[in-house]
């Protein structure tokens, strides 16, 4: 199952196991990425360091199942998502992933609550978990409060006039609602100043730990490294190049 990794088969499967992955973006500016072998153990905080242009977005698109490689295996929580049809991959992502972008995380015309509840429309199991103790709205408010969003900004408030820091908290609540197994954060703190960065990470770490999820954070900022269980260099995992030949 995780043949490409040197580790013996554990009770809980690796969060991610990739082997012999070859991927080329379609279109004119072909960009290719190759991963020979990569494994990520569960329930950890992992920092992936990669300068811009090192194929971060492509790597994340692959593990989230937004794109499928031309060849190779990508196992997420023991499921080879390259064998799933595209719509099943979308459903898999909805159930098992919470994703935080660098910036522009929210639909500006929606309310804060609607933005947080958005993934539940595509993930019935996450909806079940989110509504185990009450309504999904209550769970959203609980998460937002835990993440330090002012109470007057939660219910009925439009997402359009939040500050960047507030937007990132709402995005974190959206990623965490319904307790998905994997939280992927793509430079979530790069738009924040140092103090806010630290505060945001503290809250994020606490909530991720409470949910028992694995946090995969991507950044070019190596100074964050001491706060993570494991730090990996993306260019050691994957080789990327401009051109159609991976």
């Amino acid at each position: 199952m995780v043949a490409a990794t040197s580790k013996p088969r554990a009770e809980t499967p690796d969060v991610i196991a990739m082997s012999d992955v070859r991927f080329v973006w379609p279109g004119r500016n072909a960009f290719s990425l190759a991963v020979d072998s990569f494994a990520l153990p569960a329930a950890k905080r992992i920092l992936l360091i990669g300068p811009s242009g090192s194929g971060k977005s492509t790597f994340l698109s692959l593990i989230c199942g937004i794109v499928a490689p031309q060849s190779g295996r990508i196992e997420i929580l023991g499921t080879d998502i390259t064998r799933l049809p595209a719509s099943a991959r979308d459903g898999f992502r909805a159930e098992h992933f919470g994703i935080i972008f660098q910036i522009f995380n929210l639909l500006p015309y929606g309310t804060v609550i609607d933005n947080v509840l958005l993934p539940l429309s595509f993930a019935p199991n996450r909806r079940k978990r989110a509504t185990a103790k009450g309504s999904a709205e209550d769970e959203a408010v609980r998460l937002l409060t835990r993440l330090g969003l002012e109470p007057n900004l939660t219910r009925g408030h439009s997402a359009a006039n939040l500050s960047v820091g507030q937007q990132q908290r709402v995005a974190a609540a959206r990623a965490l609602i319904g307790s998905p197994e994997v939280i992927v954060a793509d430079e979530p703190t790069s738009a924040l100043d140092r103090n806010r960065q630290a505060a945001f990470l503290d809250l994020l770490f606490t909530e991720v730990a409470e949910a028992g999820a694995t946090l995969i954070m991507v950044s070019h900022d190596e100074s964050l490294a001491p706060r993570f269980d494991q730090v990996m260099q993306l260019d050691e995992i994957a080789t990327s190049r401009q051109g159609a030949d991976p």
């Binding site: 937004i66 794109v67 992502r93 972008f101 660098q102 929210l106 929606g110 993934p119 793509d186």
Partner: protein, 419 residues
């Protein structure tokens, strides 16, 4: 459905462009349905002008021409029917009633019709409606005239007023029958037909005003006073046309054929309905052109909507990436954009229908009074509903263009949030 709600909120976020798009569609729908309403109204109005008349007889000519001058007062007769021929036809056993019509004079732009008092009982419009007097009575005296509702309204006539009839048909008369003035004996109720714009006098009166005339002018040195004329023989020499009612409709074609083959002089007998059908055949091309133009206006409005959605796509790539990241399928993105096109089209159609009926309510009395065109306010016909449904489907399909582009973009963007 949180996704659908967000889609609507997204639309509301762009309310100005969305509203303008909806209005463009609404106006095009209004035009499309309005053209159809006017077309149907005009046809109905023509068809309603003459009812209960089985045959119209005139000098030999095309049936459309005979119909137009005899009933609609459009154009002129090429020739007359002599009085003996008229009486010969009127005495046929199949004929229940016959009303002679004599045209050729006018009163301040309105046509003067010489006829008999039978006209007021036998002329029918809108299936069963007969002529009714708003005031006064049919002409009894030689120099009595009955005016239609529009004539009375336009010229301010009431019973007892004196009027002068002009020779010929122009609004500005050069030769007037001013030596023989008429008295208004009655004013007719509004009918919405050319009757409203007609001055009715007796056949004898038409004869009387022309007694001292020859070849369209007064004979110099020869003047007959109005009193002298009363003592003269005023039996008409000719009439322009005649309306005929038959005892049995089964006899229609037999009578028509015998009139068409009348030996004493060349005559034509036409069925009003058949002549109208011929007329529609003639104006059908123009109607089709009007329909085509309004259909193109609808297509233009839909194109405008597609353009509007396409221009917003770039700024909405963020929206797509977020939706994809939380697990939305590309199909969902496609569906959302098509739904947006569908909502815009449906709203435009609904608004267009509302605007049309509002316009009808406001303009109906004016159009009726000015053009004699009655536009009925009635629920949309099945054919119109089918047209609207077709447009709604076309709107959704037009939405496919931006939707497919968004689909491709969202696949190509992957996890990248574009700004």
């Amino acid at each position: 459905m949180i996704v659908l709600r967000l889609a609507l909120q997204s639309l509301r976020n762009r309310w100005l462009t969305a509203t303008l798009t909806v209005f463009a569609i609404a106006v095009s729908i209004m035009l499309l349905l309005g053209v159809e309403k006017v077309r149907a109204g005009a046809r109905q109005s023509f068809a309603d002008t003459i009812s209960g008349t089985d045959l119209i007889v005139g000098a030999r000519s095309g049936s459309i021409q005979l119909l137009l001058y005899a009933v609609f007062r459009i154009g002129n007769a090429t020739n007359n029917i002599t009085w003996p021929s008229y009486q010969d036809i009127a005495s046929r056993p199949e004929i229940a009633w016959v009303v002679p019509l004599s045209l050729g004079d006018s009163h301040r732009g309105f046509r003067v019709l010489g006829t008999t008092p039978d006209y007021f009982t036998h002329y029918k419009y809108r299936q069963t409606h007969g002529l009714a007097f708003a005031s006064g009575a049919p002409f009894a005296d030689l120099f009595d005239a009955v005016v239609g509702a529009d004539v009375a309204a336009a010229l301010g006539y009431k019973v007892g007023d004196r009027i002068i009839v002009s020779h010929g048909l122009g609004a500005v008369a050069f030769v007037e029958h001013d030596d023989k003035p008429f008295r208004v004996s009655g004013v007719l109720e509004k009918t919405g037909t050319p009757v409203d714009r007609t001055v009715h006098v007796s056949l004898e009166a038409i004869e009387a005003i022309h007694v001292d005339w020859q070849s369209g002018g007064r004979v110099p040195g020869q003047s007959v006073s109005a009193d002298d004329v009363r003592r003269m023989d005023l039996k008409p020499k000719a009439i322009t046309a005649a309306l005929i009612g038959l005892k049995s409709r089964l006899a229609t074609f037999r009578v028509q054929r015998s009139i068409n083959e009348y030996r004493a002089e060349p005559l034509s007998a036409i069925l009003p309905g058949a002549a109208l059908q011929e007329l529609w055949g003639l104006v059908g091309t123009a109607e089709t052109a009007l329909k085509a133009v309004s259909a193109m206006v609808v297509a233009t409005a839909l194109l405008g909507m597609v353009t509007m959605i396409l221009t917003t796509l770039n700024e909405r790539r963020r929206e797509m990436a977020i939706l994809r990241s939380v697990g939305a399928r590309p199909r969902t993105v496609l569906g959302l954009l098509m739904a947006e096109a569908g909502v815009l089209t449906a709203t435009g159609i609904a608004l267009g229908v509302v605007l049309l009926y509002a316009a009808l309510l406001v303009l109906q009395p004016y159009v009726d009074a000015t053009y004699g065109l009655h536009l009925p306010i009635e629920p949309p016909k099945p054919a119109e509903l089918a047209t609207l449904a077709t447009i709604a489907i076309a709107g959704c399909l037009a939405g496919l263009l931006p939707a497919l582009r968004a689909y491709r973009l969202s696949l190509a963007d992957g996890m990248t949030v574009r700004t």
